[in-house]
């Protein structure tokens, strides 16, 4: 019935329907003369309409390139009263840019706006209300209310949809006003509007407003409204569909039946041409699927329906492919069954942009299984010969991961890696050696035959990670490598130029070698031990050296048991996202959070998006399905701010990656060692126990060399066992009453730290400031290598020693640690004053959090001022510096109060009683020698105290007062 035909003529005709290219506006970009502003002013005030318009265009062009043309404000605004719509729009554009800097003159525009809002032409009414909302000047905002109210009820849907968005704009400027004026209710009514686009914009505006009011019930989603949304979903624009789907994703269905019926109505969206519609639909389905029973037929059907659209996303433009791949990475972790048969589509194409290639590779590894491993390996081998260094490295690493993940393939992987080593491409060889080390750990005593090949490449290794891996291999298999001693010796020559990682590894490897072949290697081990303990200023290295030295010299049998202990197995899946974070990210499919693989709170400022989203519970699993899923999991009090890892504001914190802090431990004279060793002698074996095993990084765990520490420093608290007691000098040293210590609060929630939860508090014990921490491992894998560092802060707080976490922290385990602090660190004024930004590192990542310490931490023991000095100082400090506070509800007499305060180093110098009022004069000295003077008035029978604080640095008064309150109330 139809025929083939080529038809040029028609298509040619079609093309000419568009606008001709008559305009040559580019000339406006070129004017950069000196008297330009003056000329423009004249032109703007010209009588000729055309000239006026030309001038406004020039102004806009200048504005675009960043020139300041705000001086022309009155002249431009004068052009506003026109019936030329193009000109009007240009003037509006100008207004939006400069109104904020010229608020008084912006008022001149109000009349025109109000008039335009009454215009018979709906396009003009909408334009006016749209523009007015963009002008962030309070006075204009007031005038906006009436027109907006009318426009929200306008007969024309175009005006209503514009007004809906305008409510969100107004809310951003003045939230209270929007609430007072009742706009929120009107906006809610628009969800039932007959026009789908009005519904969509109302949903978008409400969702945004709701985000900044976490606990309000603004988006009151119930089955009726959901039904309205689903109806509008079929009819509105692609963008509107996205707004609605994103809003739907926040709803929690009451039961599995409702869940299923919503899913059924959302699935058709998977065929939409717009990828964002598809991804948002996937988000709704992934979320609601949680509630469906797995034995339901529909559940299986749904799973099958999800794969094709996800694969189709990979034929989109590269930028969208990237977004899709980042999301697929999450989906594959949450529900691997969806894409398990689709491995091939993730094969890298030669011309893919590098960001697409790297993401595909990640997903390939996740999907690798026994069924497809042959194909995957063949591909990976191809990739390892590509050009991009990062990509090649990742491909090589991927081969290693396949070996560890799919046991049956290990042999083939190893031989592939050997082939790659033969290419002699430097970075390929190094990467291969790093992964082979892991393969050895996973399959001990299986592939050692390849060691010879590895040894051939010793010389070409110049990266620390590869060198460390190679040294580990040599040490671990020393008995099978004839010239192991020579190999290790060759590394020893440049010992001090190596990175810490390599040094530590070399130390351990040589000790292993010694334990295996004691006869020939005595000299070597002596050499490395003295290099590590005497010539190094790295405490980790020294500590490890001492431990080995003592172990070897006291009990070689025990040493053997410790150093050559069996190693724990390494896990199969690496780089898995921690489950709670994964759940949250699934709720954010399609958004930036899913691209960054970070919760929104990590990159969004302010209150927006800080609530954590959760997946709904499966029906019947105990938890009531009615509970809304939003805003429940967030803690009630303000959570500690978590500082993201991007951004450079914490630059100095970031250098933590290298090693735990150095330099706090005084260096040791070699002569001291022997004696000190006796001191600890026999206890050490039992202390070290079995669990340190041969973990390559155990040095950090073993902490400060005990002998090296002057006892008074007491910086090895809670090391467990006897050692802890030995150093616990804190308690009971000359304190009348104990200082108040606040209970621990959560500083770093597990959600934000890949499963590591840190809670803590501060205490001052016997003149020593301590940070008491509880580290809890809520992830699935073991955590090791803890270290801590502070950002510069107001009082120079800094760790006085390394963070001592002796044993690896296994899942669900909690360890309590006390970290002694010094006040000799670098100083930087913080906001608030007592804010402390902390970075904690473990084997997984570096995490940041901030906490606030009570100022009483810094009140020193010799803070009692002489009476005379007090009087003189009190007079000396200007009255402006005096601050008054009320402390309410204290039922203590003045003596009890002063006793209590003394416990926290707030000293009462004198007491006067005047007319039934007790006046206490008190002094406090801070670690940085700032004196704070206080007068506390206590009236018998009145539970409210009055506190006057005087200090040369008045900004501390507020915080001193907080301490008073804390101490007195507890």
């Amino acid at each position: 019935m139809m025929t083939k035909h080529v038809r040029n003529l028609l298509s040619l005709l079609q093309e000419n329907r568009g606008l001709g290219s008559k305009m040559t506006d580019s000339k406006y970009f070129t004017t950069t003369k000196k008297g330009e502003i003056f000329e423009l002013k004249a032109e703007l005030n010209s009588d000729k309409k055309e000239k006026k318009k030309e001038a406004v265009k020039k102004v806009i062009a200048s504005m675009t390139v960043g020139k300041d043309v705000s001086a022309l404000f009155p002249d431009v605004v004068n052009c506003m009263q026109t019936d030329n719509l193009e000109l009007k729009k240009l003037v509006y554009l100008y207004l939006m840019n400069y109104a904020k800097s010229q608020p008084d003159m912006a008022i001149m525009a109000v009349n025109t706006f109000v008039k335009d809002c009454e215009d018979p032409n709906p396009l003009i009414r909408a334009l006016a209300v749209r523009t007015m909302g963009c002008i962030r000047v309070d006075k204009i905002t007031e005038y906006l209310c009436e027109p907006l109210r009318k426009c929200l009820k306008d007969e024309d849907p175009y005006v209503r949809k514009t007004a809906a968005v305008c409510v969100a704009k107004l809310h951003d400027i003045n939230a209270q006003l929007v609430e007072d004026q009742g706009f929120l209710d009107t906006l809610k009514d628009l969800i039932s509007d007959s026009n789908p686009m009005v519904v969509a914009n109302a949903v978008a505006a409400l969702s945004e407003i709701a985000e900044s009011h976490p606990n309000s019930n603004l988006l009151d989603l119930n089955p009726q409204t959901i039904n309205k949304l689903l109806t509008a979903l079929n009819e509105c624009t692609e963008w509107g569909q996205i707004f609605i789907l994103d809003c739907l994703a926040n709803y929690t269905p009451r039961d599995d039946r409702e869940s299923q019926s919503i899913c059924e109505r959302v699935t058709p969206r998977l065929s939409h041409a717009n990828s964002a519609v598809v991804l948002s639909a996937v988000k709704v389905l992934m979320k609601f699927m949680e509630m469906l029973p797995k034995d339901l037929d529909y559940y299986g059907t749904l799973l099958k329906k999800l794969a094709p659209p996800l694969v189709t996303l990979l034929s989109a433009e590269p930028e969208l492919q990237y977004v899709a791949l980042r999301n697929i990475n999450l989906i594959v972790q949450k529900r691997p069954e969806i894409l398990k048969h689709e491995m091939k589509v993730f094969f890298v194409k030669y011309n893919d942009p590098i960001y697409v290639k790297l993401e595909k590779l990640d997903i390939m590894i996740r999907l690798a299984s026994q069924a497809n491993i042959a194909q995957v390996l063949a591909e990976l081998k191809e990739y390892a010969t590509e050009v991009d260094v990062d990509f090649v490295r990742k491909a090589v690493r991927a081969i290693g991961r396949c070996a560890i993940k799919v046991e049956q393939s290990a042999e083939r992987c190893v031989s592939t890696l050997l082939d790659l080593i033969q290419t002699k491409v430097n970075y390929v060889v190094q990467e291969a050696i790093v992964v082979i080390k892991d393969i050895f750990r996973k399959y001990p005593n299986k592939y050692e035959s390849v060691i010879a090949t590895l040894c051939e490449n010793l010389d070409s290794l110049d990266e620390p990670e590869a060198r460390a891996a190679m040294i580990w291999i040599v040490g671990e298999y020393a008995e099978r490598i004839d010239n192991a001693d020579e190999l290790l010796e060759s590394f020893l020559e440049g010992f001090h130029d190596e990175s810490t990682q390599v040094q530590l590894q070399l130390l351990t490897a040589i000790v292993k070698l010694f334990l295996k072949k004691p006869t020939e290697t005595q000299e070597l081990v002596q050499q490395v031990l003295s290099l590590a303990t005497q010539d190094s200023d790295n405490p980790d290295l020294r500590d490890r050296g001492y431990i080995y030295w003592r172990l070897l010299s006291t009990d070689p049998v025990a040493a053997k048991e410790v150093v050559l202990a069996e190693k724990p197995l390494i896990s199969e899946e690496t780089d898995l996202i921690e489950p709670t974070l994964l759940e949250e990210l699934i709720c954010h499919i399609g958004t930036l959070a899913s691209v960054y693989h970070k919760p929104p709170s990590a990159f969004v400022e302010g209150s927006r998006g800080v609530q954590h989203k959760r997946l709904p519970a499966r029906a019947g699993s105990g938890e009531s399905a009615e509970s809304p899923d939003v805003g429940q999991s967030g803690p009630a009090e303000a959570p500690p701010a978590v500082i993201p890892s991007q951004g450079d504001l914490l630059g100095d914190l970031l250098n933590l990656d290298l090693a735990p802090p150095t330099a706090t431990i005084p260096s040791v004279q070699p002569s001291m060692q022997m004696g000190a060793m006796d001191l600890l002698g026999g206890g050490l074996d039992s202390l070290l126990g079995g669990d340190i095993g041969g973990s390559p990084s155990m040095g950090a765990g073993l902490g400060a060399a005990p002998a090296a520490m002057p006892a008074a420093l007491g910086s090895a608290p809670a090391v467990g066992g006897g050692l802890g007691d030995l150093f616990d000098l804190g308690g009971g040293v000359g304190m009348p009453t104990g200082a108040y210590v606040a209970p621990k609060t959560v500083w770093l929630p597990a959600m934000k730290a890949k499963g590591l939860e840190i809670s803590g508090t501060f205490a001052r014990r016997g003149g020593i400031i301590q940070m008491d921490l509880s580290l809890t491992n809520k992830a699935m894998s073991v955590m090791t290598d803890f270290a801590i560092q502070f950002n510069r802060n107001s009082f120079g707080l800094a760790p006085a020693g390394p963070l001592q976490v002796l044993t690896p922290l296994s899942p669900n385990q909690t360890i309590d640690v006390s970290l002694p602090l010094s006040t000799s660190g670098p100083v930087m004024k913080m906001e608030p004053l007592n804010n402390l930004q902390v970075a904690v590192k473990n084997n997984i990542d570096v995490f940041y959090f901030s906490c606030q310490y009570p100022l009483s931490l810094l009140f020193v023991e010799d803070g009692k001022m002489e009476r005379q000095v007090f009087l003189a100082t009190w007079k000396d400090i200007p009255n402006d510096n005096e601050a008054q506070f009320q402390i309410k509800d204290i039922h203590l007499n003045s003596d009890a109060a002063s006793n209590k305060l003394q416990g926290s180093n707030i000293f009462t110098i004198a007491k006067r009683t005047v007319e039934g009022q007790d006046m206490l004069y008190q002094s406090v000295k801070l670690t940085n020698a700032i004196w704070v003077l206080a007068e506390m008035r206590i009236q018998t029978g009145n539970p409210n105290y009055t506190l006057s604080i005087k200090c040369r640095a008045p900004e501390v008064s507020q915080f001193v007062y907080q301490c008073y309150e804390l101490v007195l109330k507890n």
């Binding site: 083939k4 568009g18 290219s21 914009n201 930036l592």
Partner: protein
């Protein structure tokens, strides 16, 4: 939502800057220029986070389009919007170039004001936009015209206006497929898929209701069960299995989901009705058989045979085979039976072009490549041999079965509409490793 939108030229000079949100300052314009456009390294991600501000960018020739935000926006939507923005600009003034953008900056600002409100994308169908963003002013409109515009922009059928009239009702369907292949040197298909598009040009009066049918396996099988099949005994490529398809927003998705029927009211003029993907029973129009031999360290011998694999009566066109050569190539000698072959040093490849080739034919090229001796340890990566071509059939086997047009209010029927169909198969990424 989107906080701002910037357009830059290749030097990083800003051509268009429109800020929608208060949290985006003027410094964002510079941050993107410094960190992305002027970055020394090649772009490693289309999304960049600079000082807690996220930048999404796409490039069209040497123009950068960047959307900025400080919130957790829908990233897929932002990119879709940027693409749409490019489409709209192209529809208004043609190619996206610095000159065209400068020439139309007032228009672009007007468009940006309309299609993005407070960072929320609004109706961006060119059909609708062109009714009221014309750069001519709109004072001449009557009340009816105005309300027609607003109802179209906000309406259920935002892509088509009422009252379109043609003397001759005509429609054109193009089935455009790109066939993708990755083949091992031994001739094993590593991956192959067809991504197809059905592009429609409709010149129809009124608000016609259309129904489109193709040889979709699911539909055919369903009808087969109903007992209405015309030729049940015949096997062969009667129907094809479609892995997935997506549709223009005019198609009623819920109806497709429940009945698998494709019904819609089409936009006027040209648009893309659907996209689809197939992976089963693909006709691979060409097979490439490579043979690379390294003769010593300074010489390579390459022989490539191509075989066409379709009906002898059909002609393939614009055939191009691209054989990569090592970076240290010093000279190339080529002999080919058909077409022209040339070594292009700047592209590191031998390019072999054949104007036309019929089905079931074979042709061959052989080349000797002289290499400069190098001490580079790294082996040559041997990029795959790629191919370009165009064939007058659909490699997926897709056939249009019908496109019915119903317009009840006007007096023309399905029979009066003149319909044209053509099939074009092009190479996508068609590679054979060597």
């Amino acid at each position: 939502m989107i906080g701002g939108l910037f357009i830059y030229n290749h030097k990083g000079e800003v051509l268009i800057s429109r800020v929608y949100r208060d949290d985006i300052g003027r410094n964002a314009v510079d941050a993107f220029r410094v960190n992305v456009i002027h970055a020394r390294q090649q772009v490693r991600s289309p999304v960049t986070n600079i000082a807690r501000t996220s930048f999404f960018h796409v490039k069209r020739s040497n123009i950068w389009l960047a959307a900025v935000t400080k919130q957790n926006v829908n990233a897929a939507m932002v990119f879709e919007f940027l693409y749409k923005m490019c489409d709209v600009m192209t529809a208004y003034f043609g190619k996206i170039s610095e000159e065209n953008i400068k020439n139309n900056f007032v228009l672009i600002y007007e468009l940006l004001d309309e299609i993005l409100d407070f960072g929320y994308p609004q109706n961006s169908e060119t059909g609708a936009l062109k009714t009221f963003i014309t750069q001519q002013g709109i004072k001449g409109q009557t009340k009816e015209e105005q309300s027609q515009i607003t109802s179209q922009v906000t309406g259920q059928i935002g892509w088509r206006r009422e009252g379109i009239k043609y003397r001759r009702n005509e429609l054109f369907l193009d089935v455009l497929e790109s066939v993708n292949l990755l083949m091992s040197p031994q001739g094993q298909v590593l991956s192959a898929h067809v991504s197809g598009r059905v592009v429609m040009k409709s010149y129809l009066s009124g608000m016609p209701e259309c129904k489109f049918g193709m040889n979709d396996k699911i539909v055919i099988d369903k009808q087969g069960k109903g007992g209405t099949t015309d030729d049940p005994g015949k096997s062969g490529k009667q129907s094809i299995a479609i892995d997935d398809c997506t549709f223009h927003q005019c198609v009623r998705l819920s109806k497709f989901d429940s009945e698998r029927s494709i019904s819609f009211i089409p936009p006027d003029g040209e648009y893309e009705l659907m996209r689809y993907r197939t992976t089963k029973d693909i006709i691979l129009p060409f097979r490439v058989i490579p043979l690379v031999r390294e003769v010593g360290r300074t010489k390579l011998e390459v022989k490539v045979v191509i075989k066409s694999n379709f009906k002898p009566s059909l002609l393939a066109q614009k055939i191009e085979v691209r054989i990569p050569t090592p970076l240290n190539t010093s000279g190339v000698q080529v002999i080919c039976m058909k077409g022209k072959a040339k070594y292009k040093a700047s592209e590191n490849a031998i390019v072999w072009k054949i104007k036309r080739m019929a089905g079931m034919k074979e042709s061959q090229i052989s080349a000797e490549i002289e290499l400069l001796p190098t001490n580079d340890k790294k082996k040559w990566a041997r990029p795959p041999i790629s191919m370009n071509f165009e064939v007058p059939f659909a490699p997926s086997g897709l056939k249009v079965r019908y496109l019915k047009v119903f317009e009840s209010k006007l007096n023309y029927s399905d029979h009066d509409v003149i319909k044209w169909v053509r099939y074009i198969g092009r190479s996508g990424i068609y590679e054979t490793r060597c």
